[in-house]
Symmetry: D2
Subunit: 342 residues, 4 copies
């Protein structure tokens, strides 16, 4: 194996998914696994689906324990990655699944996160214009948020081609694993099964500035994004519905052509055949995003719908895809393009 | 009991919910129950949750079988109500849960339904401006579609008060019962559990003109609606997220005041306390709509979220509420304001 | 209204269901609502589906706050009811939804609960032989556990009629609300959706001695019960599958006759038509148990399957049914026989 | 690649899962895909999660179309495999996921399936005593039923070691995909979400004789099995709870030793650490069975619980595992030991 990886935060959902994927990765070996309050416990108690690693014991999350690896994945609550990352060697590839290094604008960071800005790292969404170039050879990667991943894949092509007013409305239905594994009453199975709910409404969700940032990179027009996340009764998956007003004279053909061009050569973004609409089941466990686009002539709008697995393409899969690029490996190593369905 | 009711279409979901609610209604007696291909069967085989009616036998859906009742509920596929309704006496209260008589504009009907327009009946959404007056004493009621019910309750107050540009974006997450009981592969439990999907995207869903019609009734400004329905893994409930651009200078206070004023005296629309957002579980089995509104200053938009039970307030409950009004009964007879949760 | 009721434990699932049902009860008025750590909060924050009570404020759970009511419902963790009950007047009807007063044998209590036995109160399962007589006029009621409710309704008729060896195997699939509202990692929606799991296996679940006790009351033969609870992805409902070896020569007709006789006059136990098997959806939100029985000739066994709503007939509904009896009211006041489905 | 495989029945759930697994198999190439009424359609319409195969077109299920492959997987309704199999060459490895060739006793077949018996092929459950030997080099494989797979893995070790009376009670909770993709009303999402139900009760399910057959192969004592399947709200997974009376004097240690010995060297059966109980989420998408065993001293019984993914280890995964053995490949090629969770 070419590289040895440590993982900080092995007991959470993002950490578990990184391990699930690394178990199938032919070029990355799984090294030290760390945790916070779960240090000292067997992984089998915490992530019982990772049967081949059941007897691994977690150690404390410290820079010392993470040393000696080629890659360090950080799957920690935001705010914790920043401090830890500074203690890891510059030659080590550090891949942060948290938010700390995603935003370029420190003011945005402080407004939405209420703490000092740690900095900015290359953004791990290779399918964006210039995305792959920013990742080649890097030793620091900021893995995008799950909502921004799918939202940007849906909104960037039309925005970059100047086909729409960049005043996007994004409404996303997410599975509950995006909210993490810390037990809170509103995340209990009894509460979420049979119920759809809205949260973080009115532009206050922390992923909002990240979506805006991604759009600003591809247009000079003023960008606004109305983003509303909702919680629906499933463990995994995000379905994002995105709409913006068409610029005058833009045809449905031009819109479709923009999306076809954007994703024709992308292995992990699949523009569906016309007439077929995304379902999160199509990409359950897969690193693929499925996307469809249409024009509503009466309303004068483009409507783009995308689906991803929030833990796979939206977190751990995206992390490994970017890691493969940074390490100079084939981009799809260890990543499935096939959903687990039904 | 004051009135005797027949039901055409007792084996489907809308019909079953009408019966569930009528079983608790103190002034309406359940008379003849009809069905199409299920005529001759015991209700207990088809609607096993309606235990007190288990031994009732369904008869064929004919005008003769429906005669002799004070109220006739039609819970039939669209297109079937029109023909049948003409054969029912003018003094009988006919309550159509189908689409046939909802639209005022025949051209809209023909465009979206592809068949001749049957006509227009009073629209059964009492909470709309003028809604109750149109229903008092009527002998014909067109029960609104489930999506229009919640969408109009969310969008009418801001539109009527001219606080927004009436260019609404509505994205709704629906439970599967809205798609009915006819078995289709994409509605199988194996397909819908664990998956969120979009359908009818691009302004083609038949409920779109119904939402537009409701908004046009309260504004002279040109109305557009971008409506996207999605299917999420639950049996009941719709969560609608609605957003429109604020007119210049409109404050958050003015917006909230409009919604407070609209629903202060409504028993079945509950504007939640500030900071609390709708969840469909709050209204499971209830005739209540829960609504919340906020302003996104950065995006310059109002965001309104509403939740209903699509079978209750969205169909059968709304039907009975309007029936109560038409019959001069207390509007809330037989209707619960309490959700079944968790 | 004839009676005024206080509720201790208004923020949990059992307490919420008691309130949901009392809101529809014509003879019981809802008085003081108490809570532990949630005292001081609006009910609307904690039980948002109880919309008519949204502005009620919870007070602390003390005997003083509970005084001055005709009925006190206790919906508290086991161990807390015992101490509180002794401070409530002997003329007050105290209805304990916890386990403290269910078991007659103090040794059983100590073995399974590991604390001193509080005592024994009349057992709130009217459908058991002698059940109603024990409740008439009582001022203390021990509401049965949810699993024992359905298990005893399934197993008592065949046992009492001596048709089987009373060596029962009971495997029950429960919704997650039976585990309560205290957030624990294994009860997160992300964990329970898409997964069925076993727990409390090997005769260690605390409801086991309660089932055994109910069977010992109807037979002199030695009773054993192998009880296995499982958790399945739904909020409400228990499906219990119960089997025992037929005594030699017992016919399928004799078995069916025993169940028909047992439940012919019971309003809340519905023996399904032959060939139809229970589903928990049939009784969602209802106080009804549905039961079916058959004989497996090859295996020489009777198989009985029953379904209840664990929060309704299994807790709050059963509590109110017994309360009605104790107060001399019609037994079915405020209780639905109709499930909310689909 | 060493072998080329055709698949008959590519539009159903079993067929889809075979393709999902073969896409990750390094030594088997995917050849012709056939269907019945779906012949002529793109796979992308029918199995949209199999994105890499989206443009494959299905052809009709005929022996001619299936010719020219090293392996033919049959994923057809029972009764159809028998006729087709006789037309396939004796040197072709034919792997039947249907029931036609599972039972050794023609009388059992006729009683439970009501049609002439096609014959008996080597049984594809390598973990049974002698299971691997029967499969080595074979050119015909009968893939076990999903319920028998998990039931036999749970019950055979104690039976073979004569630790229990072989009078087993098996109650299994299954996801809905086991019922297939043909749309039926009771399998609609609206019906299955939020509901657990029993079916095929009383020893009439067709998998019953298959479980009995597997147990008879390891004991001379008379075998009876009371098998009850239930449907719970999830797409995939079976949780089986199995209990039998301990023979006098048998200790818990002896029981555990038997299971430890049986599965110590098995890669796809994982005896959990003591105290941990199976959940189907542990094996979602994986070819692994997780098993746990305990003794209930009071009831005098062993209780064994097992979980599998019905489509993976229970059908397609088991099929490929046996195929690997028959072809002389490493047994675990293309098969995951890791569940997709949460």
């Amino acid at each position: 194996m070419g590289a040895k990886a440590a993982l900080a935060g092995a007991s959470g959902y993002a950490g578990g998914e990184i391990l699930r994927l690394l178990l199938a990765h032919p070029e990355i070996e799984i090294g030290t696994l760390t945790a916070g309050s779960n240090a000292g416990r067997r992984l089998g108690e915490l992530q019982p689906h990772l049967l081949p690693l059941a007897d691994r014991v977690l150690v404390e999350t410290t820079a010392e324990n993470l040393a000696g690896h080629d890659v360090v994945f950080l799957a920690l609550p935001h705010g914790q990655s920043g401090a830890l990352a500074t203690q890891l060697g510059a030659d080590v590839l550090v891949v942060d699944c948290g938010a700390d290094y995603r935003l370029r604008d420190g003011a945005d960071w402080e407004e939405f996160y209420g703490s000092p800005h740690a900095g900015t790292w290359p953004y791990g969404l290779p399918e964006l214009p210039g995305g792959r170039a920013a990742l080649a050879g890097t030793r620091r990667i900021a893995v995008p948020g799950c909502y921004p991943t799918v939202s940007l894949l849906c909104t960037v092509p039309a925005t970059a081609a100047d086909l729409v007013e960049p005043d996007w409305v994004v409404v996303a239905a997410s599975g509950t694993s995006g909210a993490g594994k810390a037990p809170k009453p509103h995340l209990l199975g009894s509460e979420v099964m049979g119920s759809a709910s809205a949260y973080g409404v009115g532009g206050v969700h922390r992923h909002t500035p990240e979506i805006v940032q991604g759009l600003r990179a591809v247009t000079d027009a003023p960008v606004t994004v109305s983003f509303t996340p909702t919680l629906v009764p499933m463990s995994r998956g995000i379905l994002a519905t995105c709409t913006a007003r068409l610029r005058p004279g833009v045809t449905a053909e031009a819109v479709r052509a923009a999306y076809t061009a954007a994703y024709a050569d992308e292995g992990f973004v699949h523009l569906l055949a016309e007439g077929q609409w995304p379902a999160t089941a199509m990409v359950y466990g897969a690193n693929t995003a499925v996307v469809q686009v249409t024009v509503d002539e009466r309303a004068g709008r483009v409507v783009v719908v995308g689906a991803i697995d929030n833990l796979a393409k939206g977190t751990a899969g995206g992390a490994i895809q970017s890691t493969n690029i940074a390490l100079g490996l084939a981009e799809d190593l260890g990543l499935s393009k096939t959903g687990v369905a039904p």
